[in-house]
């Protein structure tokens, strides 16, 4: 079965494990890696007037930085290894955006890593993995 694997990727070690897992699958069965980087963002946050003025500029800078620091290197690395890869950088809530990308790209699976800590914060506010499992339109793999 070949298809697209959406990988939530933020450059961290767990994200790297998730990517490696997905790459193995793609090597075995063919398919494409969709590298997805989400910049956490809520349209309901409060900004100062100065931040409003500079928002568009900052957004451009943040996108550039994410592309340069996190995405580009991995894309080149995967391409060199002969893997077909697409990249997406978007703003929003991580689980929402991953689900949306999976839908748009007709993906077969979403793969994310987790850091394995069941912290109090995650219990109270919920974790990305938890929220994603609840809402994803396709099967999810959480790589420990």
């Amino acid at each position: 079965m070949s298809g697209k694997f959406v990988v939530g990727f933020d450059g961290s070690a767990p994200a790297r494990r998730a990517l490696d897992f997905a790459v193995e699958r793609v090597r075995a069965q063919g398919g494409t890696i969709v590298l997805a980087h989400v910049l956490e963002w809520s349209p309901y946050s409060f900004l100062t007037p100065e931040e409003l003025e500079e928002r568009h500029k900052r957004r451009r800078e943040e996108m550039d930085r994410a592309k340069k620091a996190i995405i580009s290197k991995v894309v080149t690395e995967l391409e060199d290894a002969g893997i077909t890869v697409e990249a997406e950088i978007r703003y929003g809530k991580t689980h929402d955006i991953l689900s949306r990308i999976a839908e748009e790209k007709n993906a077969v699976q979403i793969v994310i890593g987790r850091d394995g800590q069941s912290s109090l914060g995650a219990r109270v506010f919920g974790s990305v993995a938890g929220a994603l499992v609840q809402t994803a339109p396709v099967p999810c793999t959480i790589v420990p």
Binding site: P43, F46, T48, P49, L52, E53, R55, H56
Partner: protein, 518 residues
């Protein structure tokens, strides 16, 4: 920059030393009194010009100017404020926002920031001033002015987005100075540049007055009401230091914390007001009776029903700033291809600010019976000078609001004191930005030029905190209304452009060309 910070710090220390020395030298006349005297003397002419009455009446022409403007826009746009609320809310929820624009300024954010500049002391202290002078009847006129003002806000914020400047580096700047200059040119009308310059001058004065001194003044009154009396310049210096840290030192975290806490304070304030009203539910009917009776008879207040009307209109305008043009500066940063959508969103501002929050303050003051009435005639008793209604604790301004809330919930004045200080602070930050935009419109952008304005702004924090309420509130009102004089001339000239936008948008919305994303 470092040298500059150092010299500024020295100047502050110098001011403290000077203040201490002056207090020691001159027991008879304190520093506060001196500042107050100089301030009142130097601004009096401006205040009397703006607030001069129509010949032979006691009706200030400026109040008529604002109300006529609001009525004209309401009629011209077919009572827009009562027709589009549903769509406004859909826009704020993001139903019509392109998901690919996530990370840009949303309608909600533009509205929230503009609101944090308007919801503040005007709603707490300003309303108390209005009720104190104009009696309960002022509430009626205040609500009416708030409803009409929604159309004014709609007009100015649409123009703010339409004629904003979008710079190469991605920054966005807008506001009356831009639409006056660019819009007049587009329509081939003369004088746009002159109006833009005038507006900018008044905007700087308004930022220093209503956006700064009035805030500092009322914050000091509130703090000294809780901890006991002490000289105003001390509060002034502390506030000036914090404002300095944010706008010059670039310590964003302070501003960010305030921006986050202020909305909750607002909700807490309205919530508490509702609880107090509910506790006195048997008086609700009576309170509205007082409001309606007072609106048309005055119930014995100074100036009769005209006094109530003037106070109501004045406070509404001062509180929601509709027609003043300030909010157009904040709203213009929104991400949208349709300027009119920001008008739809902005018209909620006077509604939230005046019709909801201000009315809560008024109801609490009336319902807790802070105003003294003659038991026989039911009319309100005036103070000795005959200028305002006598209150139970002889309070006025924010003190009156505090006493009203405190009479039902004993510990609330402490919360209110914190809320007032935070509201004052966030309003100062927002207005320092408005003032700065006007300043850079006049003098051009550049670090030194901007720092000059910011330092002036900080100095006025101290002056405001040290002055008496009277001269400060007069000057604040006068400067802010002077902005409205210029801005509303511009709105009259440019309203056909808004109408064109409105018709085009409404037809595309109906035909389904503009569609929901969610």
């Amino acid at each position: 920059m470092k040298n500059f910070l150092l010299s500024a710090a020295l100047a502050v220390v110098g001011a403290v030393l000077y203040g201490t020395a002056a207090v020691a030298q001159d027991q008879a006349m304190s520093l506060d009194d001196k500042v107050n005297q100089i301030f009142a003397d130097s601004t009096g002419w401006f205040v009397s010009l703006i607030f001069s009455n129509f010949p032979g009446t006691s009706f200030p022409w400026i109040v008529a100017w604002l109300v006529i403007g609001a009525v004209v826009f309401t009629v011209y746009f077919g009572f827009i404020q009562f027709r589009v609320i549903g769509h406004s809310i859909a826009l704020i929820k993001g139903d019509y926002s392109d998901p690919n624009d996530a990370g840009e300024v949303s309608h909600f954010q533009a509205l929230a920031t503009a609101l944090s500049g308007t919801v503040g002391l005007g709603n707490i202290a300003g309303v108390a001033v209005a009720i104190g002078i104009g009696g309960p009847g002022a509430t009626f006129w205040m609500i009416l002015a708030g409803l009409m003002g929604m159309a004014t806000k709609f007009t100015e914020c649409t123009l703010g987005v339409k004629y904003r400047n979008e710079y190469e580096d991605g920054r966005v700047s807008g506001g009356p100075m831009y639409y006056l200059a660019k819009g007049f040119e587009e329509r081939g009308l003369p004088g746009g540049k002159i109006l833009a310059v005038l507006f900018s001058i008044f905007c700087i004065l308004g930022a220093l007055g209503g956006g700064n001194m009035f805030q500092a003044n009322q914050a000091h009154q509130q703090i000294s009401g809780v901890v006991g009396d002490y000289p105003g310049w001390i509060t002034g210096l502390v506030f000036a230091g914090l404002v300095f840290a944010v706008i010059i030192g670039g310590i964003k975290s302070i501003a960010r914390v305030t921006e986050k806490v202020v909305p909750f304070m607002g909700i807490l304030y309205v919530g508490t007001a509702l609880i107090i009203i509910a506790m006195n539910y048997h008086l609700i009917g009576w309170a509205f009776g007082q409001i309606f009776a007072g609106a048309f008879t005055g119930l014995g207040v100074a100036g009769g029903f005209v006094g109530a009307l003037i106070q109501g209109f004045k406070r509404a305008a001062f509180s929601n700033e509709a027609g003043v043009g300030s909010a157009a500066i904040a709203h213009s940063a929104v991400r949208t291809n349709e300027p009119i959508t920001e008008g739809y969103v902005a018209l909620l501002e006077p509604f939230i600010d005046t019709v909801i929050v201000c009315t809560m303050t008024a109801l609490v003051i009336i319902i807790t019976q802070q105003l003294v009435t003659d038991p026989e005639t039911g009319l309100y008793l005036l103070n000795e000078a005959g200028t305002s209604v006598r209150t139970i604790g002889d309070t006025s301004g924010v003190g009156l609001t505090s006493a009203a809330f405190g009479s039902s919930i004993g510990w609330f004045p402490y919360i209110l004191a914190i809320a007032v200080v935070l509201f004052a602070f966030s309003t100062m930050i927002t207005w320092s930005y408005y003032g700065l935009k006007a300043w850079t419109f006049l003098f051009g952008e550049g670090q030194t030029k901007e720092i000059v304005f910011k330092v002036i702004f900080c100095v006025f924090v101290v002056i405001g905190a040290a002055s008496q309420l009277g001269p400060v509130i007069d000057f604040s009102d006068a400067a802010i209304f002077a902005m409205a004089v210029v801005n509303i001339i511009g709105l009259y000239a440019l309203m056909p452009i808004v109408k064109r936008e409105l018709i085009s948008y409404a037809s595309r919305l109906k035909s389904g060309e503009i569609k929901k994303y969610q």
